[in-house]
């Protein structure tokens, strides 16, 4: 049942020009940045050779690329998630799901999996670029995988937040704006946390990119992974509650 909903969601995305446009824009933009990064690396190569324990191509190309990709995902995730539930509610198609013999949990998980499948396609396409370098340079696959995992976890958090906010309104634009605001806030919340005071370090801990940076360095800390998973579970839980609530209030 979950997969039926997820499959329709994914199909729906690919039937709209939005998904294709986003894929093209992201790929084009990141390809440009990738080229610049590779060019920089070539220029630096001579000096790096002289250093002991010098950063490799994974650190100087893949990691910065993923960092930019995270930003791009932040910008476009709201566009992908905004319609998930708000549009269904507005056009009345939600009634089909609500009157079918399926629970709210299955509906939310189906929607989430659908959009995650799309984001995975996008991330896979981004990952292809540094992978190409394997043909001519030594890649640190451990670091690369950690970075990719971070990117997926990050995208998963974005999508979960967007799904919840999409459940709150009937207007996709409103859902997108709210999602964007929330994600941006969580992105920059650690600006308040540069000092070592307790409140400051709490903010730093809450920030989304903080946990991503560690993964980019190849540091796999289960606390970082747990942070993202908790964030996703919380958002999805809220979305399920909201959908149950809709039957009560609406």
């Amino acid at each position: 049942m979950i997969f039926t909903i997820a499959a329709r969601e994914l199909r729906g995305l690919f039937l709209s020009p939005l998904a294709w446009t986003l894929l093209a824009v992201v790929q084009g933009l990141l390809a440009w940045i990738f080229l610049v990064l590779v060019g920089d690396f070539r220029n630096l190569q001579g000096r790096l050779a002289a250093l002991d324990n010098a950063p490799g191509v994974t650190d100087l190309v893949a990691a910065p690329l993923f960092r930019v990709a995270a930003w791009v995902l932040l910008l476009l995730a709201p566009l992908l998630t905004m319609r998930l539930l708000s549009e269904e509610r507005r056009t009345g198609t939600l009634d089909l799901l609500l009157s079918a013999p399926i629970g709210s949990t299955a509906i939310i998980l189906g929607k989430y999996l659908g959009v995650m499948a799309f984001l995975s396609v996008m991330i896979a396409m981004i990952a292809l670029m540094p992978l190409v370098l394997a043909a001519g340079a030594p890649l640190d696959f451990g670091k690369l995988l950690a970075g990719l995992l971070g990117l997926i976890l990050l995208a998963g958090s974005f999508a979960a937040a967007g799904l919840y906010l999409s459940a709150l309104t009937t207007q996709p634009a409103l859902a997108a704006a709210a999602t964007f605001g929330l994600l941006l806030l969580l992105w920059v919340i650690d600006m308040a946390g540069t000092s070592q005071k307790t409140a400051g370090s709490l903010f730093a801990y809450l920030s989304l990119p903080r946990h991503f940076d560690a993964l980019l360095l190849g540091l796999f800390d289960s606390a970082d992974v747990a942070y993202y998973l908790l964030f996703v579970v919380a958002c999805l839980g809220l979305a399920i509650r909201r959908l149950d609530d809709a039957r009560l209030r609406d």
Binding site: M1, R8, R11, G12, G92, D95, S99, A100, R247
Partner: protein, 311 residues
């Protein structure tokens, strides 16, 4: 099985804020019945149907569908319902086949069963030729039919149709009514409408809702009885006192409408037109108008609500 109880609704209540949209209604639906829900806009028809379909939770009351409590075991109960909302829940970017396939899968049909169900409902609803067309490009009438086909996919014993004939042209209207009558033979159908002819054409039973309450429930034949002309409007240039009109044989009550017009209430089937005519000629009332008034839907509402208040 004919006469088997399919839907049992007890003291169903639902409010939106301070407004009581549905107020303690009770009714029963059996196999072989087509129950027409009549009511003006905002009478609570759609709210009731949404609750039956499990889309909206009631504030209080019980709904039992095919022996299963809708609130306790929603999944099982929903499997027994086919629901067509006011706005058919269709994805514009999908084709008819895709939409129906998706809906069938949501209702737990496996692939083989899906194919068969699709053929069956497309044939039943006249959609064989449009299977590959995009729903967004279909006319309102076709979308309505896709919506109905979707409700029939899992072959539910109960059909809940919210204004199923809105937007259909006269031919489609006739086909839809015929289809509903046919479905009514071995299903239980609940349909809502605000058109009386609709009920007459397709239903066996009728319920009238007014401001969230059920003001009338019964077989269609009984309503027909009520709807028979029971009023005669007369216009007189030289009217007698009201009392002498009231004494005419068959007249139950006289309403003075002003300007020499009167509405004579009489028992159905015994119109006093002959008596009025004779007296008018004999006493020189100067009769210039005499019209039998058929009770419109509105009149029935007024009668019923007045009757409620009096009773």
């Amino acid at each position: 099985m004919k006469g088997e109880i399919l839907v049992q609704v007890e003291r169903l209540t639902r409010s939106y804020g301070d407004i009581r949209a549905v107020d303690e209604i009770n009714f029963t639906l059996r196999t072989g019945e087509v129950l027409g829900f009549l009511g003006l806009n905002g009478a609570g028809k759609s709210t009731t149907m949404r609750m039956l379909a499990g889309v909206l939770a009631p504030d209080a009351g019980r709904i039992t569908i095919h022996g299963v409590d809708l609130l306790d075991q929603p999944r099982q109960a929903k499997q027994a319902i086919g629901y067509l909302p006011e706005q058919p829940p269709l994805y514009r970017e999908m084709t008819v086949d895709e939409q129906l396939h998706y809906s069938a899968r949501l209702h737990g049909l496996d692939r083989a069963a899906c194919r068969q169900a699709l053929l069956r409902v497309k044939d039943c609803c006249g959609l064989v030729d449009v299977g590959r067309r995009l729903i967004g490009n279909l006319s309102k009438g076709y979308r309505q039919r896709v919506g109905l086909a979707q409700a029939l996919l899992h072959d539910p014993p109960v059909l809940v149709l919210d204004e199923p004939t809105v937007g259909l042209d006269p031919i489609q209207l006739r086909e839809m009514r015929e289809l509903i009558r046919r479905l009514g033979r071995d299903h239980g159908v609940i349909l809502s409408t605000h058109l009386l002819p609709e009920v007459q054409a397709a239903c066996t039973h009728v319920q009238i809702m007014q401001a969230g309450r059920l003001v009338y429930a019964g077989a269609l034949a009984d309503l027909e009885q009520r709807r028979r002309s029971t009023h005669l409007r007369v216009g007189l240039n030289a009217p007698p006192p009201v009392a002498s009109l009231a004494q005419l044989p068959g007249v139950v009550q006289v309403e003075d409408l002003g300007h020499g017009r009167f509405r004579l209430h009489h028992a159905s089937g015994v119109a006093p037109h002959q008596a009025v005519l004779e007296r008018a000629c004999a006493d020189g009332w100067d009769l210039w108008e005499m019209t039998p008034e058929h009770a419109g839907l509105e009149q029935i509402f007024v009668d019923l609500t007045l009757g409620e208040a009096a009773a």
